[in-house]
Protein backbone atom coordinates (compact mmCIF):
# COMPACT_ATOMS: atom_id res chain seq x y z
CA UNK A 1 0.00 0.00 0.00
CA UNK A 2 3.01 2.26 0.72
CA UNK A 3 4.35 1.51 -2.73
CA UNK A 4 1.06 2.65 -4.31
CA UNK A 5 0.98 5.89 -2.25
CA UNK A 6 -2.25 5.17 -0.39
CA UNK A 7 -3.13 7.71 2.31
CA UNK A 8 -3.29 6.60 5.96
CA UNK A 9 -7.10 6.76 5.76
CA UNK A 10 -7.16 4.53 2.64
CA UNK A 11 -4.79 2.03 4.23
CA UNK A 12 -7.02 1.88 7.29
CA UNK A 13 -10.11 1.21 5.14
CA UNK A 14 -8.32 -1.66 3.35
CA UNK A 15 -7.04 -3.13 6.64
CA UNK A 16 -10.53 -3.01 8.13
CA UNK A 17 -12.03 -4.51 4.92
CA UNK A 18 -14.40 -1.55 5.01
CA UNK A 19 -15.80 -1.93 1.49
CA UNK A 20 -18.58 0.58 2.02
CA UNK A 21 -16.00 3.12 3.21
CA UNK A 22 -13.70 2.35 0.29
CA UNK A 23 -16.47 2.96 -2.28
CA UNK A 24 -17.42 6.20 -0.51
CA UNK A 25 -13.75 7.23 -0.64
CA UNK A 26 -13.82 6.88 -4.44
CA UNK A 27 -12.73 3.27 -4.95
CA UNK A 28 -13.58 1.71 -8.29
CA UNK A 29 -15.75 -1.38 -7.81
CA UNK A 30 -13.74 -3.50 -10.28
CA UNK A 31 -10.45 -2.66 -8.57
CA UNK A 32 -12.10 -3.41 -5.22
CA UNK A 33 -13.11 -6.86 -6.50
CA UNK A 34 -9.41 -7.69 -6.71
CA UNK A 35 -8.98 -6.81 -3.01
CA UNK A 36 -12.00 -9.04 -2.43
CA UNK A 37 -10.37 -11.95 -4.29
CA UNK A 38 -7.13 -11.53 -2.32
CA UNK A 39 -8.91 -11.37 1.06
CA UNK A 40 -11.60 -14.04 0.58
CA UNK A 41 -14.49 -11.60 0.20
CA UNK A 42 -16.74 -12.41 -2.74
CA UNK A 43 -18.71 -9.72 -4.55
CA UNK A 44 -21.85 -10.78 -2.70
CA UNK A 45 -20.13 -10.58 0.70
CA UNK A 46 -18.84 -7.10 -0.12
CA UNK A 47 -22.32 -6.20 -1.38
CA UNK A 48 -24.02 -7.37 1.80
CA UNK A 49 -21.65 -5.18 3.83
CA UNK A 50 -22.34 -2.17 1.59
CA UNK A 51 -26.09 -2.72 2.12
CA UNK A 52 -25.59 -2.93 5.88
CA UNK A 53 -26.72 -6.57 6.01
CA UNK A 54 -25.21 -9.92 6.91
CA UNK A 55 -24.43 -12.23 3.99
CA UNK A 56 -27.32 -14.50 5.01
CA UNK A 57 -29.75 -11.57 5.21
CA UNK A 58 -28.66 -10.40 1.78
CA UNK A 59 -29.20 -13.85 0.21
CA UNK A 60 -32.79 -13.85 1.50
CA UNK A 61 -33.51 -10.75 -0.61
CA UNK A 62 -32.60 -12.52 -3.88
CA UNK A 63 -34.95 -14.23 -6.38
CA UNK A 64 -32.87 -17.44 -6.73
CA UNK A 65 -30.09 -17.36 -4.19
CA UNK A 66 -28.61 -20.66 -5.46
CA UNK A 67 -27.22 -18.87 -8.54
CA UNK A 68 -23.92 -17.94 -6.93
Amino acid sequence: MQRFSLTDREKELVRKRDFKGLIEAGMNIYAMLKIGSATGNSLYRMGAQMRGESYEEFLKTRNISGAV
Binding site: I23, M50, G66
Partner: protein
Protein backbone atom coordinates in the same frame (compact mmCIF):
# COMPACT_ATOMS: atom_id res chain seq x y z
CA UNK B 1 -18.01 -9.23 -49.67
CA UNK B 2 -18.58 -9.32 -45.94
CA UNK B 3 -22.05 -9.59 -44.46
CA UNK B 4 -23.43 -9.00 -40.98
CA UNK B 5 -25.73 -12.02 -40.67
CA UNK B 6 -26.81 -11.76 -37.04
CA UNK B 7 -26.72 -9.74 -33.86
CA UNK B 8 -26.98 -10.75 -30.23
CA UNK B 9 -27.52 -8.59 -27.15
CA UNK B 10 -26.64 -10.42 -23.95
CA UNK B 11 -25.41 -9.94 -20.41
CA UNK B 12 -21.85 -10.92 -19.47
CA UNK B 13 -22.37 -11.80 -15.79
CA UNK B 14 -19.01 -13.03 -14.40
CA UNK B 15 -20.50 -15.80 -12.22
CA UNK B 16 -21.36 -17.69 -15.44
CA UNK B 17 -17.63 -18.37 -15.98
CA UNK B 18 -17.10 -20.71 -12.99
CA UNK B 19 -20.45 -22.42 -13.77
CA UNK B 20 -19.09 -23.36 -17.21
CA UNK B 21 -15.65 -24.31 -15.85
CA UNK B 22 -17.20 -26.59 -13.20
CA UNK B 23 -19.87 -27.95 -15.55
CA UNK B 24 -22.77 -26.76 -13.39
CA UNK B 25 -24.96 -25.64 -16.30
CA UNK B 26 -27.73 -28.08 -15.30
CA UNK B 27 -27.91 -26.88 -11.67
CA UNK B 28 -31.53 -25.78 -11.04
CA UNK B 29 -30.44 -22.19 -10.40
CA UNK B 30 -28.52 -21.98 -13.69
CA UNK B 31 -30.50 -24.24 -16.03
CA UNK B 32 -33.02 -21.52 -17.04
CA UNK B 33 -30.17 -19.37 -18.35
CA UNK B 34 -28.38 -22.13 -20.27
CA UNK B 35 -31.63 -23.59 -21.65
CA UNK B 36 -32.30 -20.21 -23.29
CA UNK B 37 -29.08 -20.60 -25.29
CA UNK B 38 -29.96 -24.02 -26.74
CA UNK B 39 -32.05 -22.53 -29.61
CA UNK B 40 -29.57 -19.66 -29.98
CA UNK B 41 -26.71 -22.12 -30.54
CA UNK B 42 -28.82 -24.04 -33.10
CA UNK B 43 -29.60 -20.77 -34.88
CA UNK B 44 -25.91 -19.81 -34.88
CA UNK B 45 -24.96 -23.22 -36.28
CA UNK B 46 -27.27 -22.51 -39.25
CA UNK B 47 -25.99 -18.95 -39.72
CA UNK B 48 -22.45 -20.39 -39.70
CA UNK B 49 -20.63 -17.12 -38.97
CA UNK B 50 -16.90 -16.97 -39.71
CA UNK B 51 -16.24 -14.17 -37.25
CA UNK B 52 -17.87 -12.83 -34.08
CA UNK B 53 -17.22 -9.17 -33.29
CA UNK B 54 -17.68 -8.96 -29.53
CA UNK B 55 -18.45 -5.49 -28.16
CA UNK B 56 -17.64 -5.61 -24.46
CA UNK B 57 -15.89 -3.86 -21.64
CA UNK B 58 -12.83 -4.90 -19.73
CA UNK B 59 -13.10 -4.72 -15.91
CA UNK B 60 -9.55 -3.58 -15.07
CA UNK B 61 -7.98 -6.90 -16.13
CA UNK B 62 -6.23 -5.88 -19.35
CA UNK B 63 -6.79 -2.12 -19.28
CA UNK B 64 -5.70 -0.34 -16.06
CA UNK B 65 -6.73 3.25 -15.49
CA UNK B 66 -3.37 4.90 -16.15
CA UNK B 67 -4.22 5.13 -19.86
CA UNK B 68 -7.78 4.29 -20.78
CA UNK B 69 -9.11 3.99 -24.34
CA UNK B 70 -12.70 4.91 -25.22
CA UNK B 71 -12.80 2.32 -28.02
CA UNK B 72 -10.10 -0.37 -28.41
CA UNK B 73 -10.13 -2.89 -31.24
CA UNK B 74 -8.19 -6.15 -31.26
CA UNK B 75 -6.00 -6.66 -34.35
CA UNK B 76 -4.35 -10.02 -33.67
CA UNK B 77 -4.60 -13.62 -34.82
CA UNK B 78 -4.94 -14.78 -31.21
CA UNK B 79 -6.16 -13.34 -27.90
CA UNK B 80 -4.85 -14.62 -24.57
CA UNK B 81 -7.08 -15.28 -21.56
CA UNK B 82 -6.50 -12.47 -19.04
CA UNK B 83 -6.18 -13.07 -15.29
CA UNK B 84 -8.88 -11.13 -13.45
CA UNK B 85 -7.31 -11.57 -10.04
CA UNK B 86 -8.53 -15.07 -9.13
CA UNK B 87 -6.38 -17.14 -11.49
CA UNK B 88 -6.62 -17.57 -15.25
CA UNK B 89 -9.63 -19.60 -16.41
CA UNK B 90 -8.76 -22.92 -18.12
CA UNK B 91 -9.80 -21.81 -21.61
CA UNK B 92 -7.97 -22.04 -24.93
CA UNK B 93 -6.69 -18.79 -26.42
CA UNK B 94 -9.25 -17.23 -28.76
CA UNK B 95 -8.46 -17.18 -32.49
CA UNK B 96 -8.72 -13.80 -34.19
CA UNK B 97 -8.89 -12.58 -37.79
CA UNK B 98 -6.13 -9.98 -38.01
CA UNK B 99 -6.78 -9.30 -41.69
CA UNK B 100 -10.42 -8.36 -41.08
CA UNK B 101 -9.35 -6.37 -37.98
CA UNK B 102 -6.92 -4.32 -40.08
CA UNK B 103 -9.68 -3.64 -42.60
CA UNK B 104 -12.05 -2.58 -39.80
CA UNK B 105 -9.35 -0.33 -38.35
CA UNK B 106 -8.81 1.43 -41.66
CA UNK B 107 -12.50 1.86 -42.42
CA UNK B 108 -13.63 2.84 -38.93
CA UNK B 109 -10.89 5.45 -38.53
CA UNK B 110 -11.71 6.78 -42.02
CA UNK B 111 -15.31 6.94 -40.73
CA UNK B 112 -14.05 9.15 -37.84
CA UNK B 113 -14.00 6.56 -35.05
CA UNK B 114 -10.52 7.07 -33.60
CA UNK B 115 -9.79 3.61 -32.23
CA UNK B 116 -6.98 2.38 -30.05
CA UNK B 117 -5.58 -0.55 -32.04
CA UNK B 118 -4.33 -3.51 -29.99
CA UNK B 119 -1.99 -6.05 -31.53
CA UNK B 120 -1.85 -7.79 -28.17
CA UNK B 121 -4.94 -7.97 -26.00
CA UNK B 122 -5.96 -10.29 -23.19
CA UNK B 123 -9.70 -10.96 -22.90
CA UNK B 124 -11.74 -11.45 -19.72
CA UNK B 125 -15.29 -12.17 -18.59
CA UNK B 126 -16.87 -9.29 -20.48
CA UNK B 127 -15.78 -11.05 -23.67
CA UNK B 128 -15.50 -14.68 -22.51
CA UNK B 129 -18.90 -15.19 -20.86
CA UNK B 130 -20.78 -14.27 -24.07
CA UNK B 131 -18.44 -16.63 -25.96
CA UNK B 132 -19.13 -19.41 -23.41
CA UNK B 133 -22.88 -18.90 -23.85
CA UNK B 134 -23.01 -18.59 -27.65
CA UNK B 135 -19.96 -20.46 -28.93
CA UNK B 136 -18.96 -23.21 -26.47
CA UNK B 137 -15.35 -24.31 -26.84
CA UNK B 138 -14.11 -27.89 -27.10
CA UNK B 139 -10.63 -29.31 -26.44
CA UNK B 140 -10.01 -28.44 -30.11
CA UNK B 141 -10.63 -24.76 -29.37
CA UNK B 142 -13.34 -22.23 -30.24
CA UNK B 143 -15.74 -22.79 -33.16
CA UNK B 144 -15.46 -19.24 -34.52
CA UNK B 145 -12.87 -16.49 -34.91
CA UNK B 146 -13.44 -13.39 -32.83
CA UNK B 147 -12.57 -9.73 -32.83
CA UNK B 148 -12.79 -7.98 -29.45
CA UNK B 149 -14.00 -4.36 -29.38
CA UNK B 150 -13.53 -2.88 -25.92
CA UNK B 151 -15.67 0.12 -24.94
CA UNK B 152 -15.16 2.36 -21.93
CA UNK B 153 -18.33 2.05 -19.87
CA UNK B 154 -16.66 2.15 -16.44
CA UNK B 155 -14.53 5.30 -16.18
CA UNK B 156 -16.42 8.53 -16.87
CA UNK B 157 -16.68 10.36 -19.22
CA UNK B 158 -18.18 7.56 -21.32
CA UNK B 159 -19.09 7.62 -25.01
CA UNK B 160 -22.79 8.36 -25.52
CA UNK B 161 -25.36 5.70 -26.39
CA UNK B 162 -25.80 7.47 -29.73
CA UNK B 163 -22.05 7.24 -30.41
CA UNK B 164 -22.15 3.52 -29.69
CA UNK B 165 -25.12 3.09 -32.06
CA UNK B 166 -23.31 5.00 -34.82
CA UNK B 167 -20.23 2.84 -34.25
CA UNK B 168 -22.40 -0.18 -35.01
CA UNK B 169 -23.61 1.41 -38.25
CA UNK B 170 -19.99 2.10 -39.19
CA UNK B 171 -19.06 -1.51 -38.41
CA UNK B 172 -21.77 -2.67 -40.83
CA UNK B 173 -20.43 -0.40 -43.59
CA UNK B 174 -16.88 -1.60 -42.89
CA UNK B 175 -17.82 -5.30 -42.98
CA UNK B 176 -19.78 -4.83 -46.21
CA UNK B 177 -16.79 -3.17 -47.87
CA UNK B 178 -14.52 -6.14 -47.11
CA UNK B 179 -13.23 -7.84 -50.25
CA UNK B 180 -13.33 -11.39 -48.86
CA UNK B 181 -16.53 -13.37 -48.36
CA UNK B 182 -17.04 -13.38 -44.60
CA UNK B 183 -20.15 -13.83 -42.45
CA UNK B 184 -20.07 -11.80 -39.26
CA UNK B 185 -22.20 -11.79 -36.12
CA UNK B 186 -22.00 -8.87 -33.73
CA UNK B 187 -22.43 -9.38 -29.99
CA UNK B 188 -23.35 -6.40 -27.84
CA UNK B 189 -22.73 -7.38 -24.23
CA UNK B 190 -23.22 -6.20 -20.65
CA UNK B 191 -26.07 -5.15 -18.36
CA UNK B 192 -28.93 -5.42 -17.91
CA UNK B 193 -30.04 -3.70 -14.70
CA UNK B 194 -27.53 -4.00 -11.87
CA UNK B 195 -25.73 -1.92 -9.30
CA UNK B 196 -22.59 -3.24 -7.62
CA UNK B 197 -21.63 -0.39 -5.35
CA UNK B 198 -22.93 1.36 -2.27
CA UNK B 199 -26.22 0.93 -0.43
CA UNK B 200 -28.11 0.19 -3.65
CA UNK B 201 -26.01 -2.97 -4.26
CA UNK B 202 -28.23 -5.65 -5.79
CA UNK B 203 -30.73 -3.21 -7.33
CA UNK B 204 -32.53 -4.56 -10.42
CA UNK B 205 -35.42 -3.25 -12.53
CA UNK B 206 -37.06 -5.85 -14.76
CA UNK B 207 -39.58 -3.33 -16.06
CA UNK B 208 -36.77 -1.14 -17.40
CA UNK B 209 -34.95 -4.15 -18.86
CA UNK B 210 -38.04 -5.38 -20.74
CA UNK B 211 -38.68 -1.85 -22.00
CA UNK B 212 -35.06 -1.59 -23.18
CA UNK B 213 -35.41 -4.82 -25.19
CA UNK B 214 -38.74 -3.61 -26.67
CA UNK B 215 -37.15 -0.34 -27.77
CA UNK B 216 -34.00 -2.03 -29.02
CA UNK B 217 -36.17 -4.11 -31.33
CA UNK B 218 -38.66 -1.51 -32.54
CA UNK B 219 -37.15 1.92 -31.94
CA UNK B 220 -33.35 1.67 -31.82
CA UNK B 221 -32.79 5.18 -33.14
CA UNK B 222 -34.98 6.60 -30.38
CA UNK B 223 -33.32 4.40 -27.75
CA UNK B 224 -29.92 5.70 -28.86
CA UNK B 225 -30.91 9.11 -27.42
CA UNK B 226 -31.04 7.70 -23.88
CA UNK B 227 -28.69 9.38 -21.38
CA UNK B 228 -26.20 7.61 -19.11
CA UNK B 229 -27.87 9.35 -16.21
CA UNK B 230 -31.28 7.85 -16.99
CA UNK B 231 -29.90 4.32 -17.36
CA UNK B 232 -27.94 4.59 -14.11
CA UNK B 233 -30.83 6.06 -12.17
CA UNK B 234 -33.50 3.64 -13.43
CA UNK B 235 -31.44 0.45 -13.84
CA UNK B 236 -28.40 0.86 -11.57
CA UNK B 237 -24.94 2.39 -12.04
CA UNK B 238 -23.41 -0.60 -13.82
CA UNK B 239 -26.42 -0.98 -16.16
CA UNK B 240 -24.83 1.73 -18.30
CA UNK B 241 -23.00 -1.16 -20.01
CA UNK B 242 -26.24 -1.48 -22.01
CA UNK B 243 -25.05 1.22 -24.40
CA UNK B 244 -22.94 -1.54 -25.99
CA UNK B 245 -26.12 -3.37 -27.07
CA UNK B 246 -26.78 -0.34 -29.28
CA UNK B 247 -23.54 -0.99 -31.17
CA UNK B 248 -24.85 -4.45 -32.04
CA UNK B 249 -28.24 -2.97 -33.03
CA UNK B 250 -26.56 -0.32 -35.19
CA UNK B 251 -24.77 -3.09 -37.07
CA UNK B 252 -28.14 -4.67 -37.95
CA UNK B 253 -30.59 -3.10 -40.40
CA UNK B 254 -33.40 -1.06 -38.75
CA UNK B 255 -35.95 -3.64 -39.91
CA UNK B 256 -33.95 -6.68 -38.76
CA UNK B 257 -36.13 -9.49 -37.44
CA UNK B 258 -35.96 -10.31 -33.75
CA UNK B 259 -35.46 -14.07 -33.34
CA UNK B 260 -34.94 -14.92 -29.64
CA UNK B 261 -35.64 -13.14 -26.39
CA UNK B 262 -35.15 -14.23 -22.78
CA UNK B 263 -34.81 -12.74 -19.33
CA UNK B 264 -33.60 -14.24 -16.06
CA UNK B 265 -32.73 -12.33 -12.90
CA UNK B 266 -31.71 -14.74 -10.13
CA UNK B 267 -29.21 -12.76 -8.05
CA UNK B 268 -28.05 -9.20 -8.68
CA UNK B 269 -28.18 -8.70 -12.46
CA UNK B 270 -30.99 -8.82 -14.99
CA UNK B 271 -29.61 -11.29 -17.53
CA UNK B 272 -31.12 -10.41 -20.88
CA UNK B 273 -30.82 -12.09 -24.25
CA UNK B 274 -32.10 -10.86 -27.60
CA UNK B 275 -31.10 -11.88 -31.12
CA UNK B 276 -31.64 -10.31 -34.54
CA UNK B 277 -31.32 -11.55 -38.07
CA UNK B 278 -31.25 -9.51 -41.28
Amino acid sequence: MGRVVGGIGLSHVPSVGPVVDRKREQDPAWKPLFDAYVPVREWLAKLAPDVAIVVYNDHVAEFPFDKYPTFALGAADEYAIADEGFGTRPLPAVPGDAELSIHLTEKLIEDEFDLTVCQEMGVEHGFLVPMNLCFPHTPAGWPVKSIPLQVNVIQHPLPTARRCYKLGQAIRRAVESYKEKVNVVVLGTGGMSHQLQGRRFGFMNEKFDQWFMDELEKNPQGLAEISHHRIMEEAGAEAVELIMWLTMRGAMSPKARRVHRHYYAPMTTGMGLITFQD
